[in-house]
């Protein structure tokens, strides 16, 4: 069974803080993704990575950065958290070939006050 884990289920941070969200997958998948989910907007792609040290911007990368130093680990960084970054953050992974089915972690509910 594919397992994708995220470092925290719930986080509360203050405006201006630097925030790290970590994601680990155990199936040797090449592709990893960070999404945010907001009501009425669905899943919006922030960044994805198709290999170690490789990253590509998604649809809403502003205010975020990512790091992928190891194949199994993909980190999302909020350089200076703002209240409009309060959201559910979801990490996912998928292999390079196949149907594209993505395996998601349980999500991190981030609240920025």
């Amino acid at each position: 069974d594919v397992k994708v884990t995220q470092s925290s289920r719930y986080l509360v941070k203050r405006t201006g803080e630097k925030v790290f969200l970590e994601c680990v997958q155990d199936m040797d998948h090449e592709n990893m993704f960070w999404y945010r989910q907001d009501p009425g907007l669905g899943l919006r792609l922030i960044y994805f990575s198709y290999d170690v040290k490789m990253k590509e911007k998604g649809d809403i990368p502003e205010g975020y950065s990512v790091s992928r130093e190891k194949k199994e680990r993909f980190s999302l960084i909020l350089e200076s958290a703002s209240t409009n970054q309060t959201s559910m953050y979801l990490c996912a992974s998928t292999p390079w070939t196949g149907t594209g089915e993505q395996y998601f972690g349980p999500g991190t509910r981030l609240t920025v006050t």
């Binding site: 009425g40 899943l43 919006r44 149907t99 998601f104 999500g107 509910r109």
Partner: protein
């Protein structure tokens, strides 16, 4: 530019009846379509998929229909059960596995 659209934010059906969730897309290059189910405080889980070369795929109570000429797909759940109450996301895959587009989701409520 939203390439995958789910125009119904919510749907309520009675237990035992059919649930039909709809999805429209704009990009004719999508080659695979997927449905995910999401419970509160959990990540989405894969439900069922269909290749662009097919028009129907069935898995138990779940059937996905694809109408390529209309750029429309639908998910049918028969019979609906209260445990099916969740948010359902439609997704479409482009040429690469890292090119996946999600709809906004439809919240299904199945009443006992």
């Amino acid at each position: 530019d939203q390439q995958v659209k789910q125009n119904s934010p919510s749907l309520s059906v009675q237990e035992g009846r059919i649930s039909i969730l709809n999805c429209d897309y704009t990009n004719s290059m999508f080659d695979y379509f997927l449905w995910y189910k999401k419970y509160p405080a959990e990540g989405p889980t894969f439900l069922i998929s269909i290749s662009s070369i097919k028009d129907k795929n069935e898995d138990g109570r779940f059937t996905v229909f694809l109408n390529k000429s209309a750029k429309h797909l639908s998910l049918h759940i028969v019979p609906s059960q209260p445990g099916d109450s969740a948010v359902y996301f439609c997704a479409a895959k482009g040429l690469n596995n890292n090119d996946m587009r999600f709809g906004a989701g439809t919240r299904l409520t199945v009443k006992p």
